[in-house]
Amino acid sequence: MPRGALSAAHDLRRGTSPAGRSAAPARLQPPALRCAVTMNPDPIPNCTRAVVVKLENGLHLGPSSQIVQLAQKFTSTLVIRKGDRKVDGKSMLDLLTLAAEHGTVLELETSGADAADALEAVAGLFERNFATDQSSGPADKGTPGAV
């Protein structure tokens, strides 16, 4: 078994995530994006990234709707965490219960075959501060489902 795979298996047994698809041992994690491919039985890619709500009025109905509509274009699940709370990012009612004000840090977590693309797309909304002057659906990201 390659060394990286052994290391990843070791990480899994300890209940920790490998620090990347190559599961390089004892290396600093990338600053923002963390993706992991679990080994067995079914490999389900899982990605997380922290984002900041920069909207002056907070994450109100309009931006929440953008998140839901974008997330629904992907097969991966989207969980959004605010502190101890976590909600389904594909549900408007769930998202609105976050009441995330300006400056709130949220953690996005996607899980599924297109997790990396889904995370890029949704995190992109936050980075563009939900400006709607460009498209960001999976069509821009290559084949949906590809990781």
Binding site: G58, L61, S65, M92, L96, T97, L98, E101
Partner: protein
């Protein structure tokens, strides 16, 4: 923040006859005006602002619910009303379904936090199927008020 803090009980409409988004919003704003929570002179401006907001994207959030809203300088605190439609209102909702429960919110421009907390409150209760079902079945404003109070007191299970 509780539902009964910002939902104006005298403006609740339990038999909304409107079939379209425009007429539903107009009817709800007029109801807030009649209850004395919006000045008659501001009524048209508020209706126009809410409709303009709808052009950016429907506030029909699914599950037969819509939350039309706007900021407006004529109010100094958040005011809201509820309308119930038996027949349903075509609202271009996210899930394509017509709308049976409407929460209309008008908030002061300088209080975005209040607006967020009101949305949080409304959506938290709407996730409870008991709340949704009882609300849709309510026949009178008094029935709605009692339901809101039960929801505020977490008595709906």
């Amino acid at each position: 923040m509780k539902l009964s803090d910002f939902v104006v009980r005298d403006a609740i409409v339990t038999d909304l006859k409107a079939a379209t988004k425009d007429t539903a919003i107009r009817s709800m704003v007029e109801s807030l005006s009649k209850a004395g929570y919006i000045k008659a002179a501001d009524q048209e401006g508020i209706i126009a602002a809410i409709l303009k907001r709808e052009e950016l994207g429907s506030t029909g959030i699914g599950k037969g619910v819509a939350v039309p809203h706007t900021k407006h300088p004529s109010v100094d605190k958040l005011v809201a009303t509820i309308a119930l439609s038996k027949e349903g209102v075509e609202f271009a909702s996210l899930d394509g379904e017509s709308v049976h429960i409407l929460f209309l919110l008008v908030s002061p421009p300088d209080r975005p936090g209040d607006h967020l907390r009101a949305l949080e409150n409304i959506s938290r209760h709407l996730r409870n199927d008991n709340f949704c079902n009882f609300l849709r079945q309510a026949l009178s404003a008094q029935g709605v008020v009692e339901l809101l109070e039960e929801a505020d007191n977490n008595q709906l299970g």
